[in-house]
């Protein structure tokens, strides 16, 4: 056989996603819950129930995206006056303070990345469901980018945890965490799980099926 033209699935092989061992599908067929003979991880031709799981987690994240942006993530209380901050107003304050590079960083991590993940994963899921064969390599790159940048959205959450610990000078200045922060952290975690349950090989399966 010539490597580089055949997929494991077409060759009748299942690849262990933990240790990369290739196993003959026939030898796994008898077992209802096949495990990798080398490392014991459960084996599947494709991630189990990938489309449904990815959609479910993604929709949950999209719903929580609303309170995450509407409710304040923190409140700065200074001399008795409270100024609530949302994700969006946090970026605006940084722009007003002329901290443009930091504003760009926070905009990217807290606003652009969550939207990219919600829209990007939805697009990738739909492209599989419509059996798209359009530019599979670029769609795989999009998936790789979504996987890589997802965790950076936690910047705002960590920033809040540092601010609330540092700024607690009673009536002079205190920063309190807000309910929006919990929703925002949930959005980041759910989209991370969502992209983990997505299987990019499904995009290539559509290409394989069309090629005959």
């Amino acid at each position: 056989m010539s490597a580089g033209t055949l997929t494991a699935a077409k060759a009748g092989l299942v690849s262990c996603h933990a240790c990369d061992l290739l196993v003959n599908r026939k030898s796994l067929a008898r077992d209802p819950h096949p495990a990798c003979p080398r490392c014991g991880t459960s084996m599947h031709q494709r991630k189990p129930d990938s489309l449904n799981r990815t959609w479910a987690l993604l929709i949950a994240a999209a719903v929580l995206y609303i309170p995450a942006n509407v409710y304040p993530i923190m409140t700065v209380i200074s001399f008795g006056k409270g100024a609530p901050d949302t994700i969006y107003s946090g970026v605006v304050h940084l722009i007003e303070a002329d901290q443009l590079p930091i504003a760009a960083l926070v905009f990217f991590a807290s606003i652009a990345v969550p939207v990219l993940k919600l829209v990007g994963l939805s697009y990738l899921l739909l492209s599989i469901q419509f059996k798209s064969i359009w530019r599979p390599r670029d769609r795989t790159v999009l998936y790789r980018v979504i996987e890589a940048v997802g965790r950076w959205s936690m910047i705002d959450i960590f920033m809040i945890s540092i601010l609330v610990a540092l700024v607690k000078l009673g009536t002079i200045a205190t920063i309190e965490p807000g309910a929006g922060a919990t929703s925002f952290a949930a959005v980041v975690i759910l989209t991370m799980f969502s992209s983990m349950s997505f299987d990019p090989r499904l995009m290539w399966d559509a290409v394989e099926d069309t090629d005959g």
């Binding site: 960083l105 705002d156 540092i162 540092l166 990019p200 090989r201």
Partner: protein
């Protein structure tokens, strides 16, 4: 194709597009990539075990320093406030946001520590030519937890917090902050130099 198992060990399937490749040795520190979708297949790492062990030990020392010493201090109108790495978690817990406190605790302290300890747990016995208990499972857990340890993201959060407060008050970085910055580089290097194939080779060896 129904090749025997002898055939199969020389093959690897791409994780992202399922294409089969024949495993060929690549140069040190180079990466074998999928010809169809460009995903990383495997990497060749020089002195993987020794290098990773050294980095993980360094990381553990830095981890202790980062957690024991003051992280940052904040001074406003003559009053100052010290904090450590875990202060944020405690404050969030006090504000009744225990879910958020848990998330920050896990991602900034627990998972990075588990990652370092896990590397040591797997590699110290391997270095002494022994097989650690539950090797395959431990490595699998290590692999699953890896994306959830977020020291580098935390560091950027520190940076943003610093910028936000610098107009308002005097912020002094503590020893723990410097050691935390080095820790994130060291633990990323430890993970990068760890070659998982060493683990699977050991698992395959008869005991």
């Amino acid at each position: 194709m129904t090749g025997g198992d002898g055939d199969l060990t020389t093959l690897i399937a791409c994780h992202e597009c399922d294409l089969l490749h024949r495993v060929k040795p690549v140069d040190d520190e180079h990466t074998a990539k999928c010809v169809r979708c460009g995903a990383t297949l495997y990497q060749e790492r020089k002195n993987s075990v020794d290098r990773t062990l050294a980095l993980a030990f360094t990381g553990l020392i830095l981890f202790i320093i980062s957690n024991v010493f003051p992280f940052m201090s904040f001074e406003l109108e003559g009053r100052s406030q010290d904090n450590t790495l875990i202060s944020g978690v405690i404050e969030m817990y006090r504000a009744d946001l225990w879910g958020l406190a848990m998330v920050v605790l896990l991602m900034s302290i627990v998972f990075p520590l588990v990652n370092l300890m896990g590397i040591l747990y797997v590699l110290i016995p391997l270095k002494m030519n022994k097989r650690p208990w539950m090797l395959a499972k431990s490595f699998r857990v290590l692999d699953l937890l890896h994306p959830w340890g977020m020291t580098e993201v935390y560091m950027l959060g520190v940076f943003v917090a610093y910028v936000k407060l610098s107009d308002l008050a005097t912020i002094t970085p503590g020893i723990a902050l410097y050691s935390f910055a080095v820790l994130l580089i060291v633990s990323a290097a430890a993970t990068a130099s760890f070659d998982p194939r060493i683990v699977w080779e050991k698992v395959e060896q008869p005991q």
